[in-house]
Symmetry: C2
Subunit: 239 residues, 2 copies
Amino acid sequence: MENVLISDSNSLEKSRCAICKIRSYSFCRCLPEERLKDFAKISEEKEFEDKKTIFLQQDQSKNLYNITKGNVKIYRLLSDGRIQIIGFLYPGDFFGSYKKEKYNYSAESIGDLRLCVFDQKSLDDYLEKNMNLAKELLHMTSHELTLAQDRMMVLGKMNASERVAKFILNISDQRLRIGWQNNPISIPMTRQDIADYLGLTLETVSREFTKLKTANTIKFLNPKQIYIADRDKLSSACN
Amino acid sequence: MENVLISDSNSLEKSRCAICKIRSYSFCRCLPEERLKDFAKISEEKEFEDKKTIFLQQDQSKNLYNITKGNVKIYRLLSDGRIQIIGFLYPGDFFGSYKKEKYNYSAESIGDLRLCVFDQKSLDDYLEKNMNLAKELLHMTSHELTLAQDRMMVLGKMNASERVAKFILNISDQRLRIGWQNNPISIPMTRQDIADYLGLTLETVSREFTKLKTANTIKFLNPKQIYIADRDKLSSACN
DNA sequence: CGCCATTTTGAAGGTTTTCAATGTCAGTGG
DNA sequence: CCACTGACATTGAAAACCTTCAAAATGGCG
């Protein structure tokens, strides 16, 4: 019975997009309700377990992805194995490539993950008929560029204490952005991941965490759960 | 007589854009010839001397800029005066902000500069009627993001020798991109600027230049003119 | 409860920075 | 014509910060 309702009536059928909880944080928020049904058709949802590769930098790019649940780390490798984590992505974040070329980075799940997968061509065709969506993507990409520039400052000019302090605040802010509590914050990635993100070693990251703990700026509920005890001190610690 | 021709005949009048030498390297390359005349009307060309501020980070953003001649440095400041140069821009490069908010960085001329200045609103309106332009901007912004991610790798994981080697190659590549000779390359910025771009001190940059010179990888025609003697060695030095 | 991965802590070492002095070059004036 | 000036670049030595290598501690999970 329910099957029948879901699969045929126009008025009663709710598309995957219509009931999507993170739509208001995604690029698709710019679409009017009546477009959601056909928009849902140009993507499919996929699930990934922890530490699964979504694509590698050297792969021929075909898709674009939107996170609906979980976290993704995107990273680059140097030929000798050195790694730089470009970013940790959250629900609502968008990644992949618009152009038929190699990807610019590799992408891997952190914890359980759910993604909307778009085909490059299908999305490009859809843009053609939906100027709003093209503009929204431009604004989002432009905003990502801002974040990337922020990270240049961190990686180029900040010392270890400042980097770690800023990292914690960034996580907190990002959680707030998608409507999660921003104080006891969970750190889903390992110390090694944090180090590769901040351009430090895991030992340095650990030492800086300890310093912040000793200064009563933060508390560790456990190694992956941080309570920010003094946000002002944390803010002033990252300049 | 010429004035008359320029100001009235539709068939004979050449718009500023129609005769623009760097159009093929700019976002406006995606416009068909017949659109150039009205496109030229939504921007005006401005000139700047060396070391002139185009805008500051804290300014309310109003404009978008396209370089038609010369170089621009875009940078961010920390409250204690530390500076990070986000990028050195070349003819054909596009900068500014799409949104009515603060700029994300400050911009300053390096040497004599000429810019096409666009009003945010006018360009946005123009996009509405020219999907191509919106897509082109999306692709260019997306490409900039790739470059920014490249720089995260440099700033986060590369040592001083690698950073300087990569810097020289980047300059060389960028010149090639806009059709300039890519071997004796001129370095328009100071050692301090290079240091602030690479997250190093000017002394370290100078020392690394000396090392490359001693290894016969590069030659200095003068402090601002570099001849790449061994491109392979330079390439392998940055990875 | 014990294992194993992860994290923390310790000590030595290295790369880059900092502080200081010297060198170079173009422009200016005697 | 040459010395002087000031901005920029190079070189040197000591110090700082982060890394490296090593060991101990912690915590999650069977």
